[in-house]
């Protein structure tokens, strides 16, 4: 487990960019943290680290955004996922093992996630400070 403190969204993005360099292509990255914690910001950095050129935005309404970089990147937002059927019908399980899955609001579906995953927990310390805990990733 590694802990980091970031002092701006840019720092969060560049931390994620470094973590991206350690990925092998089929990881599941489960993100935890409240509204405005910085999960989308983290994903933006991660996608950039994987060579994704498209802009990364929140998939709150679409549920999943797909990007293609060095590996396919599947960016989920589970904020509105309120039943097993919802989860299944995002095609969630079909994405497994086919690319890097990055999941916002993992709190809502944590029981259905495989044990073998990376956990990113983002805690609000102050307006511009975040504590980011990384579990299950290679050391950076």
């Amino acid at each position: 487990m590694q802990k980091f403190i970031t002092k701006s969204p840019e720092e969060t993005e560049s931390l994620a960019e470094q973590i991206a360099k350690t990925l092998e292509g089929t990881e599941m990255i489960a993100m935890f943290g409240d509204l405005g914690a910085g999960k989308t910001a983290f994903t933006r950095g991660l996608a950039r680290g994987l060579g994704v050129d498209d802009g990364v935005s929140s998939p709150t309404f679409a549920l999943v955004h797909e990007y293609s970089g060095k590996y396919p990147v599947y960016h989920f937002d589970m904020y509105r996922v309120t039943s097993w059927d919802d989860l299944y019908t995002t095609g969630f399980f079909d994405y497994m093992d086919n690319g890097v899955m990055v999941i916002e609001w993992s709190e809502n579906i944590v029981d259905f996630l495989p044990e073998n995953r990376i956990n990113i927990t983002i805690k609000h310390l102050s307006e511009n400070e975040r504590e980011i805990t990384v579990e299950g990733a290679k050391e950076i």
């Binding site: 904020y79 039943s83 709190e107 029981d111 259905f112």
Partner: protein, 242 residues
């Protein structure tokens, strides 16, 4: 009667052509490429290399579930698309039943299992007896432990087959000595089994129209309970709108 059957219910994709019970050809791929890119090329190759005009197909069959959400939809939509303009009947085949029909001649219980994740499986049981396949249960989703309990009442040989078979076999070996894991060449779903199941459905007047053909999804009862409990816990947080 000519049957064109396809399977896209899990990671492999296959298409088979059956003519009066005889397998004329079957294509099978198990690669990473998405079914939306592989299915139509293999169907068209199967038809052209066997010298079959699609107009001569009498029944279009598909594994309509259980299976992966996207896979099942690709299969069902493709069969609808082929059958509708020709106004031909369809067979909405259970993936688990198709697996049972892929078993070579043997006597005993076939336990078809697909991995539904979260320690749950999609399953149905069949009895093979003197070349006949008899369904013992509905298609359902249940936990691996519940399945083990149920299997303990059978004294016959139980053939564990499907993409969830290995997962179960690892858990069953100690408690269920009469369970056998099928060899890989028949373990995973093949469109051949779908075609054989469809032939039986045709004989029993259980075909449907292309418009009636639908994906079949099984719900995971246990998973749903767990999610509800968790959502209740999170309710305070979820009050905020974003």
């Amino acid at each position: 009667m000519k049957i064109l059957a396809i399977d896209t219910s899990a990671s492999p994709v296959s298409a088979a052509l059956l003519s009066d019970g005889k397998l004329l050809g079957e294509f099978y791929l198990n690669i990473k490429t998405t079914h939306s890119q592989t299915l139509m090329p293999i169907v068209s190759a199967l038809l052209s290399s066997s010298g079959t005009d699609i107009k001569d197909i009498d029944v279009f069959a598909v594994n309509a579930g259980p299976g992966s959400f996207t896979g099942v939809r690709i299969g069902v939509a493709s069969v609808k698309g082929m059958a509708m303009p020709l106004d031909k009947p369809c067979a909405q085949v259970s993936t688990l039943e198709a697996m049972a029909y892929s078993m070579p001649y043997s006597d005993g219980i076939v336990c078809s299992v697909m991995d539904a994740r979260c320690n749950q499986v999609y399953n149905a049981l069949f009895r093979l007896n003197g070349g006949k396949t008899e369904r013992l249960t509905e298609d359902r989703a249940l936990s691996i432990d519940e399945l083990a309990d149920e299997l303990s009442q059978y004294s016959e040989t139980v053939y564990l087959t499907g993409d969830g078979a290995e997962l179960c076999s690892n858990k069953f070996t100690d408690c269920l000595p009469n369970v056998i894991l099928t060899p890989v060449n028949i373990r995973f779903q093949h469109a051949y089994g779908t075609a054989v199941a469809a032939e039986k459905m045709a004989a029993e007047n259980r075909l449907c129209t292309s418009a009636q053909l639908m994906p079949v999804y099984l719900r995971l009862p246990q998973a749903e309970r767990e999610l509800k409990a968790r959502l209740a816990k999170n309710n305070n947080k979820k009050g905020e709108e974003k």
